[in-house]
């Protein structure tokens, strides 16, 4: 039996096809999210990777900000529940989850049975989110996929103290004009994100096993900065960006198994 999970986020669309609630058959990520052609494209992509069709799906659950605009979905579940499910599947035994998405940062605390006990999300501010990273990678003229390399080159991370994305952007520009080495600025940016994200983790309680998910965790600089900030090792989910979609597919399976 196959189930499909779709996560239409603010920045990207993700889909996962699952077999018998156990095995990931295919996953796809398209880097545009809600309100775009992303959801449609991600469905095309995920099915292209298999010889399955949408009719073969026994159940389909949507999550993410665009969850109500996925026509083929048979139900919607919040990102919190989906991320918890997905992360627990990819990293069994995990007790704390930190998801850094394009617009949201969320930290989730699970109990020993994997139930969500508490969660905290960023407020209206974009500090600590993927959007912050995106803006910085643009001013620094470093592609997102290379930010991590620059981070690890830094010996003396610069202080980026503003949490506001707009203020931090001008702070970075002035650091650049002072000829501070780029790697040090990059590391400062990563530390700034980590500080903000870790405040949310602390709010739900750090625990001893943290799993990171979301696009932000594809940047090894962010992961390392979070790990240093909290002083604990951090696991990254196998398919970090698709964890929400995976959780949705798992819930889709659970719902019809009941």
């Amino acid at each position: 039996m196959y189930t499909l999970g779709i996560d239409v986020g603010s920045s990207s669309s993700k889909a996962v096809i699952l077999e018998d609630g156990k095995k990931i058959i295919a996953q796809a990520v398209v880097e545009i999210g809600t309100g775009s052609s992303g959801p449609e494209r991600v469905l095309d992509e995920v099915f292209e990777k298999t010889n399955l069709k949408i009719e073969d799906m026994a159940n389909i659950i949507a999550t993410g900000y665009g969850r109500f605009n996925v026509d083929c979905a048979k139900g919607e579940v919040s990102e919190i529940t989906c991320h918890a499910k997905g992360a627990l599947f990819e990293c069994p035994g995990t007790t704390t989850i930190l998801d850094i998405g394009g617009q949201d940062v969320k930290s989730i605390k699970l109990n020993s049975q994997g139930l969500v006990m508490q969660f905290a999300m960023n407020d209206k501010c974009a500090a600590g989110t993927g959007r912050f990273l995106d803006v910085m990678s643009k001013v620094l003229e470093i592609p997102m996929s290379e930010m991590g390399d620059w981070y690890f080159k830094s010996k003396h991370p610069a202080a980026v103290s503003s949490t506001c994305t707009v203020f931090a952007e001008s702070e970075v520009i002035s650091l650049l004009s002072k000829n501070i080495p780029k790697e040090d600025i990059v590391a400062g940016v990563h530390q700034s994100i980590a500080a903000k994200a870790c405040a949310l983790v602390r709010r739900v309680g750090v625990g001893d096993d943290l799993t990171m998910t979301g696009g932000g965790s594809r940047d090894p600089g962010v992961v390392d900065a979070v790990s240093k900030e909290l002083g604990i090792p951090v696991r990254v989910a196998l398919h970090p960006q698709a964890v929400g979609a995976l959780g949705a597919a798992l819930i889709a399976y659970d719902k019809i198994k009941k």
């Binding site: 579940v77 139930l115 209206k124």
Partner: protein
Amino acid sequence: MSEEKTVDIESMSAKDALGYFLPKVDEDARKAKKEGRLVCWSASVAPPEFCTAMDIAIVYPETHAAGIGARHGAPAMLEVAENKGYNQDICSYCRVNMGYMELIKQEALTGKTPEVLKNSPASPIPLPDVVLTCNNICNTLLKWYENLAKELNVPLINIDVPFNHEFPVTKHAKQYIVGEFKHAISQLEELCGRPFDYEKFFEVQKQTQRSIAAWNKIATYFKYKPSPLNGFDLFNYMGLAVAARSLNYSEITFNKFLKELDEKVANKKWAFGDNEKSRVIWEGIAVWIALGHTFKELKGQGALMTGSAYPGMWDVSYEPGNLESMAEAYSRTYINCCLEQRGAVLEKVVRDGKCDGLIMHQNRSCKNMSLLNNEGGQRVQKNLGVPYVIFDGDQTDARNFSEAQFDTRVEALTEMMADKKASEGGNH
């Protein structure tokens, strides 16, 4: 307080009575102004008893601003205030009121009604002859009213209430507040040019107690599960607890509402029919600008609001004739108290409402109410095992609230509550 002959209040439903009396408070003030009687603008939890005893009509800028917000008229008022230099970080009730005041002041000075005012859904209220404030809920109200007094060149009566770092309210704090009351009385005597009417004051105190007793009784209907009472109704009826607690308007309306609640219980007519899936507390001020949205989102999840510490702020029960008792009542509002007391109030509301979760409004306007949300939530979670969620919002500034963010948080909370119930062996 006189009931006009043409309206048949007797046969009105509670809702109709609310719809009749709430605008009547403003109407009374307009009438007073016309007849040359005094009008006071008052902070929402300042004691109205003194002014009412001296026949001064009272309107409440916070309630007024909430009404403007609910009717989507806040952005225009905020803009006027912000153009005058009021920062976006200042409480939006204050900014809406500063905007409104500016417009009616211009109108009074020029004889012309500014366009913005013409197009505003704001209920018209007259300029005040005196303003009354009390810092028992926040200190913004001090500067706000000081500013009103200065801008409009009217006297300010300020009832200074110390913060209760210890609870119950200490003897010396009560004595100090009684001193403040006495000073307010002498200010009113000077303003009115006649001695304070202690006889009427006693009657007004008694009326206030009857109104408040009825108000307090409404919330006791949360003890029923399923509940006949929808907590959002408290937000609606609260207008009278604020603006007419010293008048019989509120007593009449609340008693009608209580009667209807009794009928609902007798006929097993529950607020959400048989769709009450969970019960939540709403901590903090309502998001007036999105009252419908927030309610519908919760209703869609079968989450009924069965408690809030906020409407309880108007539980000013005291012994008429005893100023110290009255001082105590106006001092113990939960946001004027230490974390211990605040947490205890929150826990009681959760217990009384048999709540499964807490929704906390991180209100960008009201720092005093929001600052301890997390601590309060943690305490309730620890002591009662009830999960909480915090959302970002504002009572009257739409720029600080996002529907999608609210929905995600509420849905996550309801999923948590359902999973918790299922794991405890309850029905899903």
